[in-house]
Amino acid sequence: MSKSYKLSVFVVTIVFSLLVWWGMGLAKEKPFAGITLNILMESISDTDVVEQVLPEFEKETGIKVEIEAVEYMTMHDKLIPQLLAPEKSGTYDFLIVDNYWIGEFVAGGWLIPLDDLIARTPSFNLENYIPSLISQFAQVGGITYMIPFWPYPHGIVYRTDITESPEFQKAYQEQFGRNWREPQSIEEYAEVVKLAGRVTPPEVYGAAMQAARIDPIVMEWLDFLFSMGGDIYDRTTWECIIDNEAGVKAAELYKNLLEEAAQPGVTGADFNERATLFVQGKAVFNIVHTPQMIEYRDPKISRVYDKIRLIPVPKSGLLGCWLWGIQKSSPHPEAAWEFISWVESREIAYKRAMIGAMPAQGWIYEDPAFLEKNPWQTYTGKMIAMQKSVPNVSRSTQVVEIIGENMSAYVIGEISSAREALDKAAKDLTKLIQGDPMLKFLKK
C-alpha cells in the first residue's frame, strides 16, 4: 500500500472517531439544563412519591422541578386564571388535571396536543397504559392531550373482623339464608350494611358515608348509579338519562342508606370525615377511592389497618383519574415533556409504584413483586376496566355541581321526591350540553 493511502485511511479514521466522540457527547448534552419547571400538584401521597424521584431527574437532565402542592378544591380555582393567561405566559409549566376537568380544559383550547411529542420520544409508549384510561381520559377525538398519572377507581372496603365474627355470621345466615359472601349487587350491599349496623354496638355504624354537598355526595352516589346500570347521559345519543328508573332507584336507595345505616351528621361529612370515621373503627363498610388504602393500612393513622379488605363496587362504579397535561400558557413546554416522558417511563413508573404510588400502567398490576407489596391491588385492573367516569363534556365541572346540588337537596328533604330532584337535574343537564362542541369527539 502506498504511503498516501495509509495516510488517508489514518486521517479518515481519526476524523471519523472524532465525529463519533463529538456525536456521543451531543447526545449526552443536556439541552434543557438550567431550566426550572414549575408545576401545581395536589397534596397527596402520589405527589410525595414524585418529589422523591426528582433529584434523579435533575441529575440526569439538569432541569430542576419545583412542585407546589395545594389542596384539591383550591387547585381548580388556582388553575382557572392561569389557563386564561396568553400563550407561554403562565407561571406553571405543566399541570396535573383531574379527569372531570378534561372536558373544560380541552373545550377551552387550553391544552397542547401531545401526539407530535410522543412520536418524537421513542422511550415513551402509550401502550404501557391500561387501555380504558387512554380511551376515556387521555385522548379526545383521537388526539392525545394528557398522560395518565394515577387512576382512582372506587371500591368497597370493609372490616373483616366484624364480618367474620360469629354474631354477624349468625345474623347474616338468618336474614339471607346462606353463608356470608361479598355483595354481588349494590342492593345487596345496602341490605348487608343495614344488617351490619344492627348487629354492631350503637357507636359502630353500618357504613361511613359522605353526603356533603357537591364533590363528596356525587363521588359516592355515582357509584350507586353506575352499579345499578344508570348513567348521567346516554353515551351515544347524549340524552340525559339520570332520571330514568335506575336513577330514581339509585337515589332512593342512597337516601335510605343514609337514614338507616350512616353516621349522624352525614349530610355534612366529606371525604376526610368519612375516612376518619372508618379508620377510627366506627363503621363496618365504606365506599372509597382505592388510593385511600395507602392511608387505611398505615398503623400511625388507622386503627383497623390489619382487618380490612378491598373489593370492587359490584357491576360498575365510578372511575377517576389524574393526568399530566401541558397547557398553552406554559413557558417551557418542551422541557415539561422531557419530565413527563421521564417520570412515566417504564423504569420510573415502576419505581414510583414500588415506593407507594398508584400506577396507571397496566403491566405493573401483573408484576409479582408489586402485588406482593400491595395485595389489595389484585382487583384494581379489573375495576378500572369495568368502571365509568363523568363524561368529558365541556362543562363537566358544572355537571358535577348540578348533580351534587340536587342530590344534596333531596337527601336533606328540601326536595321531597327522588324523581323530582332528578328531573330538575335532568333539565339543567340537558340545557348544559346543548350545542356542546365536545360531543362530536366523545365516543363510548
Binding site: 378544591m73 381548580h76 380555582d77 382557572i80 386564561l84 373544560e104 373545550a107 377551552g108 383550547g109 387550553w110 357507636e203 353526603a211 356533603a212 354537598r213 357537591i214 353516621q263 349522624p264 351528621g265 352525614v266 349530610t267 355534612g268 361529612a269 370525615e273 376518619t276 370515621l277 377510627q280 366506627k282 365541556s394 362543562r395 365541572t397 358544572q398 355541581e401 346540588e405 344534596s408 337537596a409 337527601v411 336533606i412 328533604g413 328540601e414
Partner: protein
C-alpha cells in the same frame, strides 16, 4: 403653580386606588353586561339580561340573598351587643386583671378564618369531636352541627361570633376609654342611675364609634366566603349558601363570569343602600 395641600394629600390614595382597583371594578361591570363563559371567551352584549335573570328567574339567588341577610343580621347584632357588653364590663373603674382579660379576648380575631373553620370542624365532628363528647356526658344526644340542615346556619353564625367579636371589642373599648369623665361625674351628682347614664350619656356619645364598628363588620360579613368554604361549602342543600359563595360558584364552577359579575354588582348595590341608611341613622355626628 401652587397646588393646595388638600389635593396634594389625596393624590397618593387616588393614584393607588385608580391604578389598582379601578380597572378590575370596571372590568367586572363590563363583563356583567355580556355573556361570558370562561372557556368560550367574552360573548355578546346582553345589557341587563344577566341581572334580570338572576333576580327574577333563579330561585337560588334569592335563597342566597335570604341566607346572606339572616347571616349578616345575626352576626352583626350578636357581635355588637356582645362586644358592647364586654366593653362596658371592661370599662368599670379599677377593674383588676383588666389587661389580662383584654388580651385573651382579643385572641380569636388573630387566627385566620381558614384555621378557625378547620378548628371548629374538628371540635364539632359529630362522632369524633370533643363537643359532642362533652355534651354526651350530660346526656345530650349527638348533634350534626355543620351537617344538620337545621343547625348548619346557627352553627356557622356561632363560629363567626366566636371569631369576630374581638374585632368589634377592639374598636368599642377604644371608644369607651376615650370618653371624658365629666358628663358621668355630673350625672352621678345629679343622682342618675347606671342604667340612665348608659342610655343618656354613653350611647349617644358612642354612636359614631358604633357606626364605624357596624359599618366595618357589616361590609365584611356580607362578603363572607372563607368560613363558608371551609365549613360547609354552602350546604347541606343550600342552607348556608351566602351570596358571596353563590358568586364564587358561578364564577369558578359554572365558569359563568357574566352572571357572577351581575350578582356581584347587585350585592354591591345592596351594601351601598344599607351603608347609606346606616350613615343616615347613626352618622349625624361623624361627617
Amino acid at each position: 403653580m401652587k397646588v393646595h395641600l388638600k389635593y396634594l394629600f389625596i393624590i397618593p390614595t387616588l393614584v393607588v386606588l385608580v391604578l389598582v382597583i379601578l380597572f378590575p371594578l370596571l372590568y367586572a361591570l363590563y363583563i356583567s353586561f355580556h355573556e361570558y363563559i370562561l372557556i368560550r371567551g367574552i360573548g355578546k352584549f346582553v345589557a341587563f339580561n344577566n341581572y334580570v335573570e338572576e333576580v327574577f328567574f333563579k330561585a337560588e339567588s334569592l335563597v342566597s340573598l335570604k341566607n346572606t341577610l339572616v347571616y349578616t343580621g345575626s352576626v352583626v347584632s350578636l357581635e355588637l351587643v356582645g362586644a358592647f357588653g364586654l366593653a362596658l364590663l371592661l370599662n368599670v373603674r379599677d377593674l383588676k386583671f383588666r389587661n389580662v382579660y383584654l388580651i385573651i379576648l382579643m385572641i380569636p380575631v388573630m387566627i385566620t378564618p381558614v384555621a378557625v373553620g378547620l378548628m371548629w370542624k374538628l371540635f364539632l365532628n359529630p362522632d369524633l369531636g370533643i363537643v359532642n363528647y362533652f355534651l354526651g356526658l350530660f346526656g345530650v344526644p349527638k348533634r350534626g352541627w355543620f351537617g344538620d340542615p337545621k343547625l348548619a346556619m346557627p352553627t356557622l353564625i356561632a363560629v363567626d361570633v366566636w371569631h369576630e367579636t374581638s374585632l368589634i371589642l377592639m374598636i368599642l373599648v377604644a371608644g369607651l376609654a376615650n370618653l371624658h369623665r365629666e358628663p358621668f361625674e355630673a350625672a352621678t351628682v345629679d343622682g342618675a342611675s347606671s342604667l340612665q347614664k348608659l342610655r343618656f350619656i354613653t350611647l349617644p356619645l358612642m354612636s359614631p364609634v358604633i357606626l364605624v364598628a357596624i359599618m366595618i363588620r357589616m361590609i365584611s360579613a356580607l362578603k363572607t366566603y372563607d368560613l363558608v368554604y371551609i365549613c360547609t361549602r354552602g350546604g347541606p342543600g343550600t342552607k348556608t349558601e351566602t351570596l358571596s359563595y353563590y358568586i364564587y360558584k358561578a364564577a369558578f364552577r359554572k365558569l359563568d363570569m357574566g352572571h357572577a359579575s351581575a350578582v356581584a354588582y347587585l350585592l354591591l348595590f345592596l351594601i351601598l343602600i344599607l351603608a347609606l341608611v346606616l350613615v343616615k341613622i347613626l352618622g349625624r355626628e361623624t361627617t
